[in-house]
């Protein structure tokens, strides 16, 4: 499975926060009734964010396909495999929608994908499952580092966290120690 683009390098040391807090609003009403904050609709995607999100979409499309292969061999983990595939399917569709909302193109999935290991038995299927999640985590981490948009960062963080949790679960299934990695998605 193809890897995503590398993580961003450290910026110059004087790089500050991407956004700053708004100043206090002296005209704010003193009413005890407070407006419920609403999430703004997703805006246009910057070129960096668009590229990263398209890579994440490719990783999710590959994950959906590859879990079909895992399911064929890791039959003792049918429930976990099915849950993981469903999660990637939902995320794939949400990522497609986010790209289209941002005015970007969303590629169709490929008919088949090159996998990281030849899958011939349960063991290799479980290795592929770990590779799928490692790839997905890397792709979502790149999205976080490619945008200043807080909403998109949050969306990407959910993808990264979901992949990190699934990776740990698969590692537990195969008895790997440690089951966790300190920096999911970092290549």
């Amino acid at each position: 499975m193809t890897g995503p683009t590398p993580s961003p390098s450290p910026p110059p040391a004087d790089a500050g926060a991407a956004t700053s807090s708004p100043p206090p609003d002296s005209n704010a009403p003193s009413s005890s009734v407070v407006a419920v904050p609403t999430t703004p609709p997703p805006g246009p995607l910057s070129p960096d964010a668009q590229t990263a999100l398209q890579s994440a979409l490719a990783a999710e499309q590959a994950a959906v396909w590859a879990y079909g292969l895992v399911a064929a061999y890791a039959r003792d983990q049918a429930d976990m495999t099915s849950e993981a595939r469903s999660g990637h399917l939902l995320r794939r569709d949400a990522t497609t929608a986010r790209l289209l909302q941002g005015g970007a193109a969303a590629a169709e999935p490929a008919a088949a994908y090159q996998v990281s290991v030849p899958v011939t038995d349960g063991g290799s299927a479980l290795q592929l499952a770990q590779d799928i999640e490692t790839d997905a985590a890397a792709a979502w981490r790149v999205v976080i580092g490619s945008t200043d948009d807080a909403e998109l960062r949050g969306f990407a963080l959910t993808g990264l966290s979901d992949a990190a949790v699934r990776l740990a679960m698969w590692k537990q299934v195969v008895g790997a120690s440690p089951a966790t990695v300190p920096f999911p998605g970092q290549q």
Binding site: S9, P11, A15, T180, F183, G185
Partner: protein, 135 residues
């Protein structure tokens, strides 16, 4: 443009939380030998987080780090960390720490620089996986 004073760098809060949770994990491992094999890799992850966060603070605030390096090293003072009595309660406390830290790092993602956002997001994801393996 006026640079943010090192003391106000928002990474300080994340470093403090991580350092505290590392101490609590040490205490948990000492108090719950039966779960030491499960907790030690999580402690190693948190140590890696602390090292990375401190390196990032030093990168952005070199003057603050060089002045503190001149001061004599000191051992953190204060009351010893006491963990709950039972293994179940200890695991629950460690899981609670991971949840607390996950929220803190998730909140920090939205307004950080891109480089820091990726780092904080990765740590938040690691904390989510810690909660999962302790569930």
């Amino acid at each position: 443009m006026v640079a943010t004073p090192a003391a106000l760098d928002p990474i300080n809060g994340l470093i403090a939380t991580t350092r505290l949770h590392l101490l609590r994990l040490d205490a948990a491992i000492a108090a719950d030998q039966a779960d030491a094999a499960r907790l030690t890799p999580l402690r190693d992850d948190r140590q890696a987080h602390l090292t990375a966060l401190e390196a990032e603070f030093a990168r952005v605030n070199p003057a603050a780090v060089s002045s503190s390096a001149a001061a004599p090293a000191s051992t953190p003072a204060g009351a010893p960390i006491v963990m709950p009595d039972t293994p179940e309660a200890i695991i629950s406390a460690v899981r609670g720490d991971a949840a607390t830290a996950q929220v803190q790092f998730t909140d920090a993602v939205s307004s950080a620089s891109r480089y820091r956002a990726a780092m904080f997001g990765s740590i938040a994801a690691a904390l989510a996986s810690h909660r999962a393996v302790l569930a």
